[in-house]
């Protein structure tokens, strides 16, 4: 009986895995396929990867994407961390209102955010790298706030007060005592923001204007002319980078969580 249950649950999980990852697996396999066909295996090749790296348009888009992701993630952290601390200090009702307002941009349809931002930007600033950066910062801030907030809540205010009590000023106490406790949250917020920015298509598409391309908008442009196998290679690389970041984030939060859990058990 127990064996049957194990088998059934194994099959179920396997099925989910296949449905989730089989398409990506096909994509990865095709990126090494020495044939333009999508159904015939023409042998193993790295041609598409080398073509990818000799394509200036792609290189430029890759650079834009990485700079955009880094810059928007850093700025979102700089805004989001003080924001989370500030929201945490609010009383119960304003706190709930602010957290609700923080959640809405994440749940809101990208198309709405994209068009709305575009409408604003065309009135005030030229569309281009700057407008895309602003847009990315905007949708990244909530992710930073959400990943930092649990850390802020766990933070023991007594340690800050102890630091003041022992002769440290408020600024020194913040950087020396509070910030180290927030680091894991800040890191995972940063990586989350980074991947969200790398990932985004819709909002970028509406706010980018002419001449600026990220990987996603460039791929979209290429695909309209017909899919080239370079795109498989590029997508594979993006998938690997994003997966790597996610694994790092998880490992970080796991490592930091363990000692915390021990205290709770002791108390």
């Amino acid at each position: 009986m127990k064996r049957l249950k194990d088998i059934a649950s194994g099959i179920y999980i396997g099925l989910i895995g296949v449905l989730l990852y089989a398409p990506i697996l096909v994509l990865i396999v095709l990126s090494f396929n020495n044939s333009r066909s999508r159904v015939v295996w023409g042998g193993f090749t790295l041609d598409w990867y080398s073509k990818l790296f000799s394509n200036n348009q792609i290189k430029e888009a890759l650079l834009t994407t990485v700079i955009l992701a880094l810059a928007s993630a850093v700025i979102a952290v700089l805004i989001g961390v003080p924001g989370a601390i500030g929201i945490h200090a609010l009383r119960k009702r304003p706190y709930k209102v602010m957290m609700g307002l923080t959640n809405i941009p994440m749940l809101n349809a990208d198309i709405v955010t994209g068009i709305a931002l575009m409408l604003w930007f065309v009135h005030f600033i030229p569309l281009g790298f700057g407008s895309v950066l602003l847009a990315h910062i905007t949708f990244n801030i909530p992710y930073v706030i959400l990943s930092v907030m649990p850390r802020v809540q766990q933070m023991n205010i007594a340690t800050y007060e102890a630091s003041r009590d022992l002769g440290a000023g408020p600024v020194y106490s913040f950087f020396k005592i509070m910030l180290p406790e927030l680091v894991p949250g800040i890191l995972s917020g940063f990586f989350m923001a980074f991947t969200m920015s790398m990932d985004d298509f819709v909002i970028t598409y509406f706010t980018k204007g002419a001449g600026v391309n990220t990987l996603s908008t460039m791929i979209y442009g290429q695909i309209r002319k017909g899919i080239k196998p370079e795109m498989y290679a590029l997508s594979t690389l993006i998938f690997l980078v994003v997966s790597a970041i996610l694994i790092i984030v998880n490992a970080l939060s796991d490592r930091r969580k363990t000692p915390k859990k021990n205290i709770e058990e002791r108390i």
Binding site: N156, E161, A162, R164, L166, G167, G169, I177, I267
Partner: protein, 356 residues
């Protein structure tokens, strides 16, 4: 009290429109061990936080050696706090925690090292320099917190229920150690607790508080033996508190019987509250003693029996080493010295005269 180190003058503080402290005054002498004792919400922790600099009073002043420090931030005050909750810096070793204040004061590394050694010995934790705070037990963490505060050589050490999270046995051990530490470092301790036993055991002077008002101040013995109102009598130890009528000086009528006592100055035929500690009542044969009643319950408490005797409508609590069978009629007697007479309160938070 000749040498006053810390004075609170007319301190008023409310939170969210709720008055916590109203015109609170307190003087603390050098090297005194003062305990603020009261139920939760009585304002005792707020007083500590005002002295520490974490809460600014709405009105009133805090004087430190005669100087007004009301507006000084915590880092500029020559007091240190041992907090109620675990307040060690989790990402620093025990030694780094203790060195935190000294490094800020730019002390030499040799001086810091000597101080850490001394402080860890003082709190019985030598050899723990490199441990992580999270790997220590609750009691050990609080010892490190005490060491971390004491190395800064504060004039006054503020302790905000530092033993509140520890189990009973560890608390008793730490209480004895705190007395030892106090003797060794010779500084003023201002201690906050809701545990009356803890207060009675450690303090030179106890300030009993309720609703932001001092109910009684005095040494352990006077607080226990001569509570000045029903709140203090009830809060400190167990008591029989019963209505009485002061017939004249040294004679009080309880339950229709005249008792000889030693209190004077309550007028004639005035209603009063009478406090009698359960260990002061003695059970004798029925008919002997002042009162006669029936034993209605008896509980074995280890060192003594807790016996309840019903006389008319009142159940007297008696602590006795000899048992008495339930249902038996017995007499109760008491030494005149052990009857404590108190004025009836006009209001329930009435402030009584302080004996200083």
């Amino acid at each position: 009290m000749s040498d006053v180190i810390l004075q609170l003058k007319n301190i008023t503080k409310s939170f969210d429109g709720k008055m916590i402290l109203n015109d609170f005054n307190l003087d603390i002498g050098r090297n005194e061990f003062v305990t603020l004792l009261g139920p939760s919400g009585c304002g005792k922790s707020t007083i500590l936080r005002i002295i520490g600099g974490f809460v600014r009073p709405d009105k009133g002043r805090v004087l430190f050696e005669g100087e007004d420090i009301t507006m000084l931030p915590p880092e500029k005050r020559n007091v240190n706090t041992v907090f109620q909750k675990y307040s060690l810096f989790p990402h620093m070793s025990v030694a780094d925690n203790i060195a935190f204040g000294l490094k800020l004061k730019k002390k030499s590394s040799q001086y810091i090292k000597d101080k850490i050694d001394y402080a860890l010995k003082l709190v019985n934790l030598d050899g723990y320099e490199d441990r992580e705070p999270l790997s220590l037990s609750g009691g050990q963490q609080q010892r490190v917190a005490i060491a971390r505060a004491i190395v800064n050589e504060p004039e006054v050490l503020l302790l905000d229920e530092p033993l509140g999270a520890l189990d009973l046995k560890l608390r008793h051990e730490m209480q004895r150690e705190l007395i030892k530490i106090k003797k060794e470092v010779g500084i003023t301790f201002l201690y906050v607790t809701h545990d009356q036993e803890e207060a009675l055991m450690m303090s030179d002077r106890i300030i009993v508080m309720n609703k932001g008002i001092i109910q009684q101040a005095g040494d352990s013995k006077s607080i226990y033996d001569e509570p000045q109102n029903a709140f203090v009598a009830d809060f400190i130890g167990e008591s029989n508190i019963i209505d009485g009528i002061m017939v004249r000086d040294c004679l009080v009528n309880i339950q229709g019987v005249d008792f000889t006592c030693v209190d004077t100055g309550f007028g004639e035929n005035n209603p009063v509250d009478v406090v009698i500690r359960p260990e002061d009542l003695e059970i004798v044969k029925a008919g002997e003693g002042y009162l006669t009643g029936q034993v209605i319950s008896i509980i074995f408490k280890g060192a003594y029996y807790e016996i309840k005797v019903k006389v008319d409508d009142y159940e007297w609590m008696i602590q006795s080493v000899d048992p008495a069978p339930i249902g038996e009629f017995v007499g109760l007697t008491i030494d005149p010295d052990n009857i404590q007479i108190m004025h009836k309160p006009v209001r329930d938070d009435e402030e009584v005269a302080r004996d200083e």
